[in-house]
């Protein structure tokens, strides 16, 4: 068996073993040679997402990304999927608020084919009307299903009220009326915002670094673009000054969902790790930390009750979620507020803080045992400028945080009297 500190230095990707290079067109690539596997995983991210959606056309970025595999100049829809599925490879595209992403995996022998498909889909999609209409129908049905999902509806309302005009206020997948309005021209225009200069690619798998660099350059260095991609205007966010309480009625639901919270630190904020660790004690550790202990274990009110930091590139939210019987909504909200108050009243106990530190440091190997996990960490390293020795430094960052730092940081963000509180489900009196 292996000592864990040594393991962090030798087993895991670090500045000696992560290969970071840039193509002439600006694409940044991070790769890791994982000879223990038989396959390869590739992640990619472009700097364009739903924040670029035009007014009345919410959902365009996601619609565009979902069209990419429905036929390109080099391969039809059938050819793309036959090539992938006949060898058990996988590929998907999607959009977030600030990005469009792709994720692919294949056996080693099929990796050049996978890259060639990714390039064709990204660079030369056809946007054929037949597939636009078929996808529109699928997207509209998925929105109808979302409309009946208590968790999704609570989240939609929460984001709308918290973020207001900020790009995170609207859903990436749009609304039925906006999806109905999106034209082929809208999709083409959005596709024009894709640029290699702000793209990141990460790869983990059983090829040497030299082989990965050579294959990536062969495929992606030819991508040039003259398109402009102006970052949308982001208004200043307005801190909450009061509580907002909304119930979203959905008929016929046995369980209601609660989502409450406020703004939190962004992923690049100096407050991030302190808030992240504090939140772990508050609503994550074990079966959901202090919140879970109060709402689930002691009161037996919910199957799940937890808190989380949704740390985005520019901003973030600090969220509290629970799924409860409709008659228990107010009781659960009260218990969650009580726990937040207790958390803000005094510093965390030394023992519970040490438990969380130990957990967060100890679990790191679990996220790095597969190519998917490694490629994902490499992507975060580049997106958030974490440094190639992020995994080695992580322990020191977490270990050095004190209870007082957590208290001071948390008080700057959390105030139980100034929160957005949403419940969704069967209406109660």
């Amino acid at each position: 068996m292996t000592n864990n500190n040594t393991a962090r230095q030798t087993y895991f990707p670090n500045e000696q073993t992560i290969h970071r290079f840039q193509l002439a067109n600006g694409i940044t690539v991070l790769s890791y040679s994982n000879m223990a596997s038989k396959s390869l995983t590739i992640f990619g991210m472009l700097g364009s997402g739903s924040a670029w959606d035009k007014p009345g056309k919410t959902g365009t970025a996601n619609f565009t990304a979902s069209m990419l595999m429905r036929g390109s100049k080099t391969n039809s829809f059938q050819e793309i999927n036959t090539k992938l599925e006949s060898v058990g490879a996988g590929l998907s595209f999607g959009a977030g608020t600030m990005n469009t992403w792709f994720q692919g995996h294949s056996l080693i022998k099929d990796f050049p084919m996978l890259l060639s498909l990714i390039y064709g889909c990204l660079k030369e999609p056809l946007f054929q009307e037949e597939y636009i209409e078929r996808l529109r129908k699928q997207l509209l049905t998925s929105l109808l299903i979302r409309d009946q999902d208590t968790q999704a509806r609570a989240s939609l309302e929460f984001n709308k009220i918290l973020y207001k005009d900020y790009p995170y206020g609207g859903p990436v997948d749009g609304y039925p009326d906006t999806i109905s309005q999106i034209t082929r021209e809208d999709l083409l225009q959005h596709h024009n915002t894709y640029q290699p200069s702000n793209a990141i690619i990460t790869i983990s798998g059983a090829l040497s670094q030299q082989e990965i660099e050579s294959i990536i350059k062969d495929q992606f260095e030819q991508w040039t673009s003259k398109a402009k991609n102006d970052k949308p205007h982001f208004p200043e966010y307005i801190p909450l000054s009061t509580e907002t309480r909304v119930h979203v009625p959905i008929k016929g639901k046995s369980q209601s969902d609660i989502q409450m919270g406020t703004f939190g630190p962004s992923r690049t904020s100096p407050d991030y790790y302190t808030a992240f660790l504090g939140n772990h004690v508050l609503g994550q550790f074990g079966l959901y930390g202090r919140i879970g202990k109060s709402v689930r274990i002691k009161a037996g009110l919910a199957y799940y009750a937890l808190s989380s930091l949704n740390a985005l590139p520019e901003i973030g939210s600090w969220e509290f979620n629970a799924g409860v019987n409709p008659s228990n909504i107010e009781k659960a909200i009260t218990l969650i507020k009580e726990e937040i108050n207790r958390y803000l009243d005094e510093p965390l106990q030394e023992e519970e803080l040490e438990d969380s530190k130990s957990h967060l440091i100890g679990r790191l190997p679990m996220s790095l045992e597969s190519n998917v996990g490694i490629a994902n960490v490499l992507l975060s390293i580049e997106r958030f400028d974490l440094g190639l020795n992020y995994i080695q430094n992580y322990e020191n960052w977490i270990s050095s945080i004190t209870p007082e730092q957590i208290l001071n940081t948390s008080r700057r963000y959390l105030d139980p009297q100034k929160m957005v509180i949403i419940s969704a489900g069967e209406k109660t009196q």
Partner: protein, 432 residues
């Protein structure tokens, strides 16, 4: 990669499966009990799952909060699952912590407390979990189709049980169920990861060999009779999409027919994921049903599902339609594809594709230690580990003629139940 597998049985009946993998400094331990909703009777529907929850409430040595604390503080990931045939508990954590989880699992095999107050608090948690499931139209549809298809065997019921029984079950029933089923001779211990097998065997013997075996009652689980006619069930309930579920009776996992069914399902609806943790999924856009239903704008999605079970269970398809779509048109298109696979020669390339997909999924799944430990124990519930090890070899032995012959027998309308979920304002169930 070094993959050294070994297995043995302790004198008290505990079956042990070990696999050394030194790619990363973690281990994954799974303990499987041969008890699930298959073993339940009227009045205690859902007891296996509830007992699983109560196994986290603690022992004298590891009180509830401490149990959670000792695993979580070392960075461990742990949880449990209950299904038709089994209940399993797992911990994946840094390899140096193996002594801790061996001791904890050995302790809660015999010494869980079952405090009355804890049981009552957990009663509402389990009911809350049921209510969460009931929010989903597909849960209602699946429950109705399963109950209609299987009339005698306990697979008739959902694993989570019935609200009536969850409201009425007593502490004595729960404790007695725990005592009778949680014993070494009813369990399988599977561990994969960064350990030395010789050292680990000694540790396992120290932790588990003193636990006495218990007489296991022979349970009279009723056999499901052959279905005599096509069945239909209609559900009306809240929602905005229309769903169709088609269920055929399926063979048990340890039969050759199950492997043929795996290929058949892959041809029709795409490969089912074989792994539970990590690995990559493969889309189903070139599958026959996707081409016939989604590409022709009849449905917005189609998925197939088979489950590896001890007794014959169900092979199901779920079709999602827009609310204004015609379900009869979708069923006709579905039947045309079924008829085609029964009547027309199956190109060998399609069989080859199914095998290639399975091979790729095995490669993705093998990257994950938790997944490796899962498969050793899981396959030992309904067969043995060779079931998993020889999976690809057995698929390769299947011919197009095998698949077609099986399709002719399996896809008999008398062998199926069709369920349709119509989205409306009010929920009513009526059978035809």
């Amino acid at each position: 990669m070094q993959n050294d597998f070994s297995s043995f049985q302790l004198p008290n009946g505990l079956k042990v499966l070990l696999k050394e993998i030194h790619t990363t400094p973690i281990i994954s331990q799974w303990i499987w009990y041969r008890v699930g909703s298959r073993n339940e009777q009227d009045g205690i529907r859902g007891i296996s799952h509830w007992v699983e929850h109560l196994q986290f409430k603690g022992t004298k040595k590891y009180p509830g909060e401490k149990m959670d604390q000792v695993i979580s503080r070392v960075g461990g990931m742990w949880n449990a699952m209950t299904y038709l045939d089994w209940t399993t508990y797992y911990e994946t954590l840094p390899s140096r912590e193996i002594d801790l989880v061996l001791d904890l699992e050995a302790d809660r095999m015999q010494h869980s407390i079952y405090d009355e107050d804890e049981i009552n608090a957990e009663r509402t948690v389990v009911i809350s979990e049921l209510e969460g499931n009931q929010n989903e139209p597909l849960f209602h549809l699946n429950s109705a189709v399963q109950a209609k298809s299987i009339t005698e065997h306990p697979y008739h019921y959902e694993v989570i049980g019935t609200l009536d029984d969850l409201q009425r079950m007593t502490r004595d029933q729960l404790y007695s169920y725990y005592q009778s089923h949680y014993a070494p001779n009813n369990a399988i211990l599977s561990i994969a990861g960064d350990f030395n097998t010789k050292e680990l065997i000694e540790k396992i013997e120290r932790s588990f060999s003193t636990i006495p075996s218990q007489k296991q009652n022979v349970e009279n689980i009723p056999e499901e009779p052959s279905q005599k006619e096509e069945k239909y069930v209609e559900i009306k309930g809240p929602g905005d999409a229309l769903y169709i579920q088609i269920a055929y009776h399926a063979p048990r996992a340890d039969s050759r027919q199950f492997f043929i069914l795996s290929v058949l399902d892959s041809l029709l609806a795409g490969p089912s994921p074989l792994v539970m943790f990590g690995g990559g999924s493969i889309s189903n856009r070139t599958s026959r049903l996707y081409q016939a239903l989604v590409e022709k704008d009849i449905t917005v999605s189609v998925n197939g599902d088979i489950q590896a079970t001890l007794d014959p269970f169900l092979h199901t398809f779920v079709l999602t339609l827009s609310p204004d779509a015609d379900p009869q048109k979708a069923l006709r298109a579905f039947d045309e594809e079924i008829n085609r696979i029964q009547q027309e020669n199956i190109p060998p390339q399609e069989i080859e594709r199914a095998i290639q997909q399975a091979e790729a999924m095995f490669a993705y799944g093998s990257e994950n230690i938790t997944n490796q430990a899962f498969w050793m124990g899981y396959s030992s519930i309904f067969a043995d580990y060779s079931w998993y090890e020889q999976y690809l070899q057995r698929l390769r032995a299947i011919s197009a003629a095998d698949v077609q012959a099986f399709a002719r027998e399996h896809f008999n309308t008398k062998n199926r139940t069709i369920g349709v979920y119509f989205p409306t304002e009010e929920e009513v169930q009526n059978d035809k």
